[in-house]
Subunit: 436 residues, 2 copies
């Protein structure tokens, strides 16, 4: 089975928007083993669209098209498909009734529907409409010769819903392939991407030798996601294919896995704290607010997070967090003992159950003779204070982002009683006291 | 002049990366009036590449190609161009010498250069190399019939440098068009995009009626950029075209313009403070660390920023910032007077010349009976404390981001003695005292 992607729209050619639809569709089709050899973008012109469709069908069995299905005069995909097939357009009674119903549902007179909107009720003669569950423009399915064209709206959330519900099942049926695709995502923190890939290499060969399920690694923002994709005749069969791979992957990745597709590291950490009725405060130096900003991005964070202190100037570490001035003078602002004192200080001053801290060298230049990427983390809680040290690669933004991830992961692993991650290069328990 | 874009790489077809190069090139070509009717992506296959080049040259005068120029065996663009032209590959002595020189410059024996790397010294017979100032893979310029193919590396920063230095001037020469393109960017804050566009509408018609210079608006992250693009025979002529438009645009936008292309709002604010030897501290509620994180993203921020307090819990506003508990009880955490007290409190407690604060409702639900988007800003300085109130549209992330931008813009306008921005719905001077 070979497919081609075709996107219609001047705004794509002019670079006003990036063709993210093609990347998403490319991943979906690769996941189910459909070969995509060419992806094309053309402007809003009937003959150009028709020529591109004919050229694609000369090379492939199916054309997956996005864009140009709206009601305005520069939406010409319907006309382009009709021209490629050598047929005319025909008003579809069902679609027309549906349009009137939608218009009336908005409290307006159905007989006053602007004539332009009726264009969305027209289909190339012989085509079938594809339902749009997320918007008004129906999709189009049109057989031309031995091939097929699927046209979907360019709006990403309308397109993805229509592809999953209508296009993919039909495409797989035509290919004689199973009709359901299920993804499972495992999210990891505290592991290098290469370590994640190596940990799973043997399992990939053993459990997914023929590419179903298929395993992919996606690294971004200091975290690595593992995506397991299975295709099967129905959901139960797909789940049965995924289950042993997921079990093996979780075993191989161990404490590195913090959650699934819907989770974020911040939401998992807030959930662990919320479940035990505990509160958190953060003290940041090199992350400079990133840690607090990530936590407060989660709606409802206020139930757990009391707040934070960004102690950027060294004197602020002493005045706002109570870090001992002698300690700062002898060990420096970038040290494990300073991280411990920051965590204990913010825990006490903001009245939280846990205090989490970061200090280090974000760059671009070294500081106190310590190299860029040096990071010390502190975690103070009811049972005392621990520190962890990591050496992070990359430029200033990457060091800062990864330091915030490492701090959240330290808190997650500590709360869950899990061992340290791969990135840790040193650490100790620096005090055993409690706040009260 | 008609051009087509062609990108080579399996990773684009599979959706592992998005084709951002096509969007960037589309904007560049639209800016200089070169028409792009089709943009294509093909995989790493010689015959597919050759077929795509031939098809593009049947429709257009030039093909702008990216990707497939590296040293490995799946980099097949050179072979694809040769096949399209019906010629062989030929080792280029100049490129070979250059490769050996680079290899030796890395401290390695030039005679031990891996054979695979020599592929980068091969060109289709009759082609000219295009210099790569940012990487090792040279570009290729090849005339085929009456058309021309420009092939550039897929790595964005290598591609953009090569396009600007070599491809665009050659393309414009062939088109009989001026050979230099100059951009000027004005960055604005505190203005709605529609207001920016309206303010310039008359100037666009008056000063740029024939599309040279061309004016574009780009809105993101709560800010709007205005890009003025001129094409001319040389840089001086382009600058002379831009100058009156830039002067008129600056006059029309007034205090909204905070800087040019290389600036960020954070760096401009830190620069204004640094120039007068002043320091800053921030107190954040709804922005939850975003303001501090934006400021500390700028290298060297530590010379100005003493630090910040994220006072997420209401009690922390009292305990860490000294906001009066009665005030919090009567007016609420989301109020102009609380913003003023937060700013004055963080200024005093962190020993800074200026204190800047945010409080408000980020959503998803209302708070204290105040709607999502309600934001109060406070700014305490040597001459007293002022507040500003804004009502921001959008969801939780947008309200938070725009609130941080509004706070920085308040500080910028106050330091520079400029009037308030469009977004301000209320404000007052709440106290006249100084810290000491």
């Amino acid at each position: 089975m070979r497919a081609e992607l075709l996107a219609v729209g001047d705004e794509l050619l002019y670079g006003d928007i990036v063709n993210g639809n093609a990347a998403w569709l490319g991943r979906q089709l690769a996941d189910v083993g459909v070969d995509v050899a060419t992806s094309t973008v053309v402007g809003d012109e009937i003959e150009t669209i028709a020529t591109a469709i004919r050229a694609a069908l000369a090379r492939a069995d199916a054309v997956v098209l996005t864009g140009g299905l709206g009601p305005t005069q520069d939406d010409l995909t319907r006309e382009g498909i009709a021209a490629a097939a050598g047929v005319g357009l025909r008003r579809n009674d069902f679609l027309e009734a549906e349009l009137r119903r939608r218009f009336q549902a908005m409290g307006r007179d159905g007989s006053a529907l602007p004539a332009m909107n009726f264009r969305q009720a027209e289909l190339p003669d012989g085509a079938q409409p594809l339902p749009n569950t997320a918007g008004s423009a129906p999709g189009v399915r049109m057989e031309i010769g031995a091939g097929v064209v699927y046209a979907m709206p360019g709006v990403p959330f309308e397109m993805t819903a229509m592809f999953t519900a209508s296009v993919l099942p039909d495409l797989l049926r035509r290919a004689g392939q199973p009709a359901v695709v299920v993804h499972r995502v495992l999210r990891t923190a505290g592991m290098w991407e290469s370590v994640v890939a190596e940990a799973l290499a043997a399992e990939v060969d053993r459990l997914a030798p023929i590419g179903n399920p298929r395993i992919a690694f996606l690294a971004s923002g200091g975290q690595t996601r593992v995506r397991i994709t299975a295709r099967a005749r129905d959901r139960a069969e797909a789940e049965a294919l995924i289950a042993p791979v997921e079990t093996a992957a979780r075993a191989a990745l161990g404490a590195g896995v913090y959650g699934g597709d819907e989770d974020s590291l911040e939401s998992v950490v807030l959930g662990l704290l919320g479940a035990r009725g505990a509160t958190l405060a953060v003290a940041e130096s090199l992350t400079g607010g990133l840690l607090a900003a990530a936590l407060t991005d989660v709606p409802g964070a206020s139930a757990v997070l009391r707040g934070g202190v960004v102690s950027y100037a060294t004197e602020v570490k002493a005045s706002a967090l109570g870090v001992d001035a002698d300690l700062l003078a002898t060990e420096g602002a970038v040290s494990a003992r300073t991280a411990a004192a920051m965590a204990a200080g913010v825990r006490e001053r903001l009245g939280a159950d846990y205090g989490l801290s970061t200090t280090g060298v974000a760059g671009p230049t070294e500081q106190e003779g310590k190299p860029v990427g040096t990071v010390h983390l502190g975690l103070a809680g009811p049972d005392g204070t621990i520190t962890r040290s990591v050496l992070l690669p990359g430029d200033r933004p990457r060091v800062r982002t990864n330091a915030a991830v490492a701090a959240l992961d330290l808190l997650r692993r500590t709360l869950a009683g899990l061992p340290d991650g791969d990135l840790v290069t040193g650490g100790e328990r620096t005090s055993g006291g409690s706040r009260d």
